[in-house]
């Protein structure tokens, strides 16, 4: 009971600060609005709208890498939102680096899209529920004396088993995409990718702020990153911010 009350309180104060930020943004006080929302974000509040608004404020402040970072974060929480996608596209047109992106296989794309539709916890909940219903259906199949019920029970059990395993997979994928932070945005104006995780390594490529990279490995203060075109290199971990 106490827990519920405290959660409700936190929710109220979060909403208040949120609308305060909206007012500041509407009055074109972008810095102040961004400060308020960032404070909320740092307190642990998460929502697609919050990330989207932070990104908009940064965009207006001409901080394109930060805007892209928060647009990407908002996208992960609500990949179907049209405004988020639109603004992310606009922000991406303002960065220097352009890659010939290797398109992901269409079913990988679908997999990612679907797994982002619901949160990881919701998927997990659905998975356990469908597993239990699946077992009930198996029982129906086993104990029913009527042929029709047996057929229904059998097919229900099979499909629910599929549902249960796929929702579990979605849950894991969602965790990987949203919470595993395997992607990052370059924040430093210029950073060169090295062939090895030390400053003396050969320069392989040069990245500019706002570019999205995938983090493959981590050694000390260095990340091994993979670019959208498939090239790999090492950059200092303080030059990027994880999504």
């Amino acid at each position: 009971m106490i827990l519920i009350v405290s959660v409700a309180k936190a929710q109220v104060s979060g909403n208040e600060n949120y609308s305060q930020g909206v007012e500041l943004y509407s009055a074109a006080k972008y810095q102040e609005a961004a400060d308020i929302w960032i404070e909320l974000y740092n307190k642990g509040y998460r929502s697609a709208s919050l990330n989207y608004n932070i990104a908009n404020a940064y965009f207006k402040l001409q901080n394109i890498p930060a805007a892209i970072l928060y647009y990407e974060r908002a996208y992960l929480l609500d990949p179907t939102d049209e405004d988020i996608n639109y603004n992310l596209q606009i922000a991406r047109t303002m960065i220097v680096d352009r890659f010939q992106e290797i398109p992901e296989l269409f079913f990988v794309n679908w997999y990612n899209q679907i797994s982002l539709l619901l949160s990881s916890n919701t998927w997990a909940f659905l998975s356990i529920i469908s597993f239990i219903v699946c077992l009930v259906s198996v029982s129906l199949y086993i104990y029913s004396t009527r042929y029709l019920y047996k057929v229904i029970g059998f097919w229900f059990a099979v499909s629910l088993l599929v549902v249960s395993s796929s929702t579990l997979a979605f849950s894991l994928r969602n965790r990987y995409l949203v919470h595993d932070n395997h992607e990052a945005i370059v924040f430093s104006p210029v950073v060169s990718g090295k062939s090895s995780p030390d400053a003396s390594g050969t320069d392989l490529f040069v990245l500019h702020e706002g570019t999205k990279v995938a983090i493959e490995d981590e050694v000390g203060e260095w990340y091994e990153i993979r670019l959208s075109d498939g090239n790999k290199g090492w950059i200092p971990s303080n030059r990027v911010d994880r999504i």
Binding site: Y45, A48, A91, V138, L172
Partner: protein
């Protein structure tokens, strides 16, 4: 010799005059040299194209009148293609001698005809001293003077109207020939290339006569060979190459006749090439702060705009005319840009020019005619048009501005809407103007403090295991249950006793309530049901004989079977003769339960 030339000229001009006189307007014309040297004799000729009047010459002071007037008359009649033209001419010639240097004017001569007075022009004559020539030597000059080919006897000049101009400002270039010797013609005129200029030839009358002109104190016969209009196209110092031309000089050959002087001497034509000096022009660039609507014209302009109507039907055309007039290189004038509503269709303007090239540059008008077609009804505005040019007088860019025009486009008449497609609002694409990110979301949506991931917890997976465990446990228990229930007859066998006891209990209840009918019925049901279950015989197949044989098979003694039959008989009898007493019923009950107990004990 000079006199001869003048005579010839006079005769030619008289002929020209006599043709001109056919207009029958009285005109008094005068011919005279504009520059003379002191002591020189010259003639002044007045000609009148009508006779019968009275001619009065003005006073000639400070000139000295030698002879005059010499009057002559000429008339000519021409019939050309049946048209008769007549002309008459009276000429009055006075010979004068200049006495002193200076510029002098002589008042006009008057000609009075039928109480009307006609005036000639005033005469302006400049008298210069000429030390190199003897005033009285015109008739007996040394004969060698004409052959003298000294550099200054004949030369050509390239005269420029301006030498310091702005880019695009017109310059008049005049090629002028000066000569003191007789020439019979020009040959092979080579004009310079005028590199760096846009050149326009000006109409120059062919060189037929020379005018007297004072050049550095010497009198030359001068004539304009050609005039050009030059528009500088690049900045900096531009050098114009010299003009070269070949003059045909008449040179006397052979001896002069002792009796007739030069008159019969023969002449030879010698070509001589002369060249002018090269000329230099300094072209200044235009100031850097060009207005965006600069048209490229240097000069002086005027701007006017006209619209032919202020109300029009939709899809009908309006004529909008912009007229640019003034001086400057109007040929390069670009069409002014119109900033109109996208609902007005504009066609490329039709431009018409009326441009004259004169010695002061190009003047005229250039007009641009726009065809505007409103595609929607409503009020439309043609914003004021701006047009900039460079004013050479002030050395600044100047902007011209027309007024603003408004017109109203009416909805098309009913007839025209019948012709168009039904429902005829023409549709068009939305016009996009700019790009920006979309506005923030004012609704916080589902805002939550970030939660822990259940997928990472061990208890989550143990939930699956738990569910599976419960499932299998249930499955196992159920299987045991089924095993035991596998044989339905055994179950019934096992339960037969219980069911019978239940029935008997009900029967005893009926007995207590004195419901004897029901009592017997219950007893019967109990016995029949018990036997059916116990002996595994369907109720439909139950007969007394079947029961007896089955019981015997199971090893029940005869007495027990006999007792059963007795009870059954009694019950059946009692049901149809309900007179039997309660004690009898009680003994029946006891017998039935006794029988069941016996069978229960003997058959497992």
């Amino acid at each position: 010799m000079r006199k001869l030339l003048i005579y010839q000229l006079i005769i030619i001009s008289l002929q020209l005059l006599s043709i001109a006189a056919s207009a029958q307007d009285v005109a008094v014309k005068v011919q005279y040299p504009s520059v003379v040297t002191t002591g020189q004799q010259f003639s002044v000729t007045w000609s009148v194209n009508s006779g019968g009047g009275e001619f009065a010459a003005p006073s000639f002071s400070p000139f000295y009148k030698l002879i005059g007037p010499q009057t002559s008359y000429s008339s000519s009649t021409q019939i050309i293609n049946g048209r008769l033209t007549q002309s008459t001419s009276y000429t009055y010639i006075y010979y004068l001698q200049a006495v002193s240097e200076g510029k002098f004017s002589i008042p006009p001569a008057t000609f009075t005809l039928k109480n009307k007075t006609y005036l000639s022009d005033s005469l302006y004559i400049e008298v210069v001293s000429d030390g190199s020539r003897q005033s009285s030597s015109s008739t007996n000059r040394p004969s060698g003077q004409e052959v003298e080919s000294g550099g200054k006897d004949i030369f050509v000049n390239l005269l420029l109207s301006r030498k310091d101009v702005y880019l695009g400002e017109p310059i008049t270039a005049t090629v002028k020939l000066y000569t003191r010797i007789n020439i019979s013609g020009l040959n092979e005129i080579k004009f310079p290339q005028f590199n760096g200029f846009l050149k326009t030839d000006l109409n120059t009358p062919p060189l037929t006569s020379l005018n007297q002109e004072n050049f550095n104190g010497t009198i030359y016969g001068s004539g304009v060979v050609q005039q050009f209009l030059l528009y500088p196209q690049k900045t900096g110092e531009i050098i114009i190459d010299p003009v070269q031309l070949t003059v045909l000089i008449q040179q006397k050959s052979g001896q002069s006749d002792p009796f007739f002087g030069d008159f019969f001497s023969t002449y030879q034509t010698i070509p001589r090439m002369i060249a002018s000096q090269s000329a230099k022009v300094n072209v200044n660039p235009l100031p850097g702060n060009q207005p965006p609507d600069y048209s490229g014209i240097v000069g002086k302009l005027d701007l006017k705009a006209v619209m032919n109507k202020d109300t029009v039907n939709v899809n009908d055309a309006i004529n909008f005319k912009v007229i640019i007039s003034g001086s400057g290189n109007l040929k390069v004038a670009a069409a002014p840009s119109l900033k109109l509503s996208p609902d007005i269709e504009v066609y490329d303007p039709r431009s018409t020019e009326d441009i004259k090239n004169g010695i002061n540059g190009t003047t005229g008008t250039k007009s641009f005619e726009y065809l505007l077609i409103p595609r929607h009804y409503g009020d439309f505005t043609i914003p004021s048009i701006t047009y900039s040019y460079f004013n050479t007088e002030s050395g600044k860019y100047e902007q011209l501005r027309t007024q603003e025009f408004r017109f109203y486009a009416k909805k098309g008449s009913d007839q025209s809407s019948d012709i168009t497609v039904y429902g005829g609002v023409s549709r068009e694409d939305v016009k996009y103007l700019g790009k920006d990110i979309r506005f923030i979301k004012t609704d916080p949506g589902f805002i939550s403090v970030s939660e822990e991931l259940t997928i990472e917890k061990r208890y989550y997976y143990s939930l699956f295991l738990l569910a599976a465990f419960i499932f299998f446990a249930v499955l196992f228990l159920r299987r045991e249950h089924v095993k035991r229930n596998a044989d339905i007859s055994r179950v019934r066998n096992r339960k037969a006793g219980k069911v019978a006891v239940k029935r008997l209990r009900e029967a005893s209840q009926c007995l207590k309530n004195n419901q004897l009918d029901r009592f017997y019925e219950e007893i019967l049901k109990a016995l029949w049901g018990y036997l059916s279950d116990k002996l595994n015989i369907p109720v439909s197949d139950m007969t007394r004989t079947r029961i007896t044989s089955a019981l015997t098979e199971k090893g029940i003694d005869e007495s027990a079977i006999g007792k059963l039959n007795e009870i059954l008989d009694k019950c059946e009898y009692a049901r149809f003769a309900p007179s039997s007493s309660g004690s009898e019923a009680a003994s029946l009950y006891n017998g039935a339960s006794q029988f069941i107990k016996t069978v229960e004990n003997s058959i497992a």
